[in-house]
């Protein structure tokens, strides 16, 4: 099983590297989060390491990377007429699914780590004084955990969307709408219940909010992955090809 997952990952990575348009879109999408990872530490100095900003940058990188890659997983293969041949091979269902998920998640998480390291380097260069500046455990570990959990969430939803979409464009649009809708709803809710929400937030500290958020995300990811593994069927992908 592990070998099969690695084989799918090998193909996905190779396709990403060799596909010129995908490569340039990918680099362009990453430009702004990576710029944030350099600009903010430069402007904020030593405050960067214990501010919530690293969390936000990592979250943004995770979302952008996965949202860029994941619509292509099944919808792209369907559009390029390679999906049926892949499904007719001896690869188990789970290896195909997990291999495709793993590439997006690994890349998103790897880039988040890279951004964390780069921004730490920038902080140390511009705020050098009394020795090496490091992230607080809450910020450093929280950022890594948040980017991983968000990558899994986005990849999970993205794969579900991609399995049903006829084209990559359709998958991308559906995925963006899926994430935009709750974000807009939350914003409205915040505007409507501003005082109550502010009171609630003031009552608990940042680390508690982070922990609760991570726990909720982990639970959602767990349910999503379990559902995907249980419901993934070749026959559902082949109908309509």
């Amino acid at each position: 099983m592990i070998n099969d997952i690695l084989t799918v990952m090998w193909k996905e990575t190779r396709s990403l590297v060799r596909n010129r348009s995908m490569r340039s879109r990918f680099l362009f999408t990453l430009l702004s989060p990576l710029l944030f990872a350099l600009l903010f530490p430069w402007k904020m100095g030593a405050d960067w390491v214990d501010s919530p900003m690293p969390l936000m940058v990592c979250a943004l990188i995770s979302l952008a990377t996965v949202a860029m890659l994941v619509p292509d997983t099944f919808a792209g293969e369907r559009e390029r007429h390679t999906l049926e041949t892949l499904l007719a091979s001896r690869l188990p269902d789970r290896a195909i699914l997990l291999g495709k998920l793993a590439v997006s998640i690994t890349l998103a998480w790897g880039l988040s780590m890279l951004a964390l390291i780069l921004s730490l380097g920038t902080t140390n260069v511009f705020a050098w004084g009394s020795g090496l500046i490091l992230y607080t455990p809450a910020t450093g570990l929280g950022s890594l955990a948040l980017s991983l959990l968000l990558a899994v969430l986005t990849a999970g939803i993205g794969v579900l969307v991609s399995q049903r979409a006829a084209t990559v464009q359709q998958a991308t649009q559906t995925l963006v709408a899926t994430f935009m809708f709750p974000a807009v709803l939350l914003q409205f809710a915040f505007l409507l219940f501003n005082e109550q929400v502010s009171g609630l937030i003031r009552g608990i500290n940042g680390q508690q909010v982070l922990l609760i958020g991570l726990a909720v995300l982990a639970a959602i990811d767990g349910v999503l992955l379990t559902l995907m593994l249980l419901r993934f069927r070749r026959s559902r992908l082949v109908v309509g090809l």
Binding site: T7, R18, R80, H81, T82, E84, L91, V239
Partner: protein
């Protein structure tokens, strides 16, 4: 169950919503044979192949492929099968070699064995020197050959081909046919080939099944089908085919029709009868006979008669 059949299908039904794609299809493909699966577009050929590979679940009916049930043991079938489906399935952003390497890894071929096999397949196809090219830059014929190489990479026991020469020019189609012919002899595999290219089926296949509206309406060797499905006919080449000579012929009980063409006469017979008395009759009526030969309908004529004819249920 150990049988001499690579594929056994019985009363297979497959519905897509209100549409019945397969309507009680039954089929037996002997091991080591090249079996043609003929039918017009929408007859159910692709659906059958997908069902045999376990990519679709049938609504009803039973199937066995290499002794395994596609419904519950599809993984075992796919392990032993190579499939060249409706589309080549080639990754155009990868090189030809990477395409084969990926599937070599999928089939878990050891690296050295995989390299040797890739060379063994690409050299006779004339693709070896261009193996580093991106597959997307290749012609359709070359991609189809590459897809055929991928299908054969793991030395499958069974090969399923869905219109392997569709959309290719004559030269590329002939090259693919040549590869398939050589393969059938060299590797002794069972090949099920869905096609609507009748000359191709006639050249390659030991047996063919004609499918229409989701069920098999005729099955047998191509020559058998031609004999069974076509009217025995005699063609007489010569001069002096007068109306009187034709009337004499039409009066014979074994003759169902006699038609004068440009320089010959077509005589449709009821049975495979001795034609010497008919020739004698023509000669006595003043016809100058130069040549006489029995004519068989082509597989194409048989196919058209079967698929465009009445209900064969």
């Amino acid at each position: 169950m150990r049988t001499q059949m690579a594929i056994q299908v019985q009363d297979l039904i497959c519905d897509f919503g209100a549409v019945r794609a397969l309507n009680g299809l039954s089929l037996q493909v002997p091991k080591g044979s090249v079996f043609g699966f003929l039918g017009p577009n929408g007859a159910g050929k692709t659906t059958t192949i997908r069902l045999l590979l376990g990519l679709l679940e049938p609504t009803a009916g039973r199937a066995q492929v290499l002794g395994f049930d596609p419904r519950h043991q599809a993984h075992e079938i796919r392990k032993r099968t190579g499939a060249l489906l409706e589309h080549t399935g080639i990754y155009e952003h990868l090189s030809a070699e990477d395409n084969l390497t990926f599937y070599g890894r999928v089939w878990r071929l050891p690296a050295a064995q995989m390299r040797a096999r890739i060379r063994e397949l690409l050299v006779p196809m004339g693709l070896w020197d261009r193996r580093k090219d991106l597959a997307g830059t290749w012609s359709r014929g070359m991609k189809q050959k590459l897809a055929l190489a991928r299908t054969l990479l793991h030395r499958p026991q069974l090969i399923l081909l869905d219109e392997p020469t569709a959309g290719l020019d004559a030269a590329a189609a002939a090259a693919i046919r040549h590869q398939l012919q050589a393969l059938a002899v060299r590797e002794q595999v069972t090949i099920l080939m869905a096609t609507h290219n009748l000359p191709e089926a006639e050249t390659l296949c030991h047996q063919v099944a004609v499918v229409r509206a989701g069920r098999v309406i005729a099955v047998g060797r191509p020559d058998q089908l031609r004999t069974q499905a076509s009217t025995p006919r005699v063609q007489v080449v010569g001069h002096g085919f007068t109306e009187q000579a034709l009337e004499l012929l039409r009066a014979r009980p074994e003759v169902t029709a006699a038609r004068r063409q440009n320089h010959h006469l077509d005589i449709d017979l009821r049975l495979e009868t001795d034609i010497a008395p008919l020739v004698q009759l023509l000669v006595s009526a003043g016809v100058q006979v130069e040549e006489v030969h029995r004519v068989r309908a082509s597989l194409e004529e048989v196919f058209l008669a079967l698929t465009q004819g009445g209900n064969h249920d």
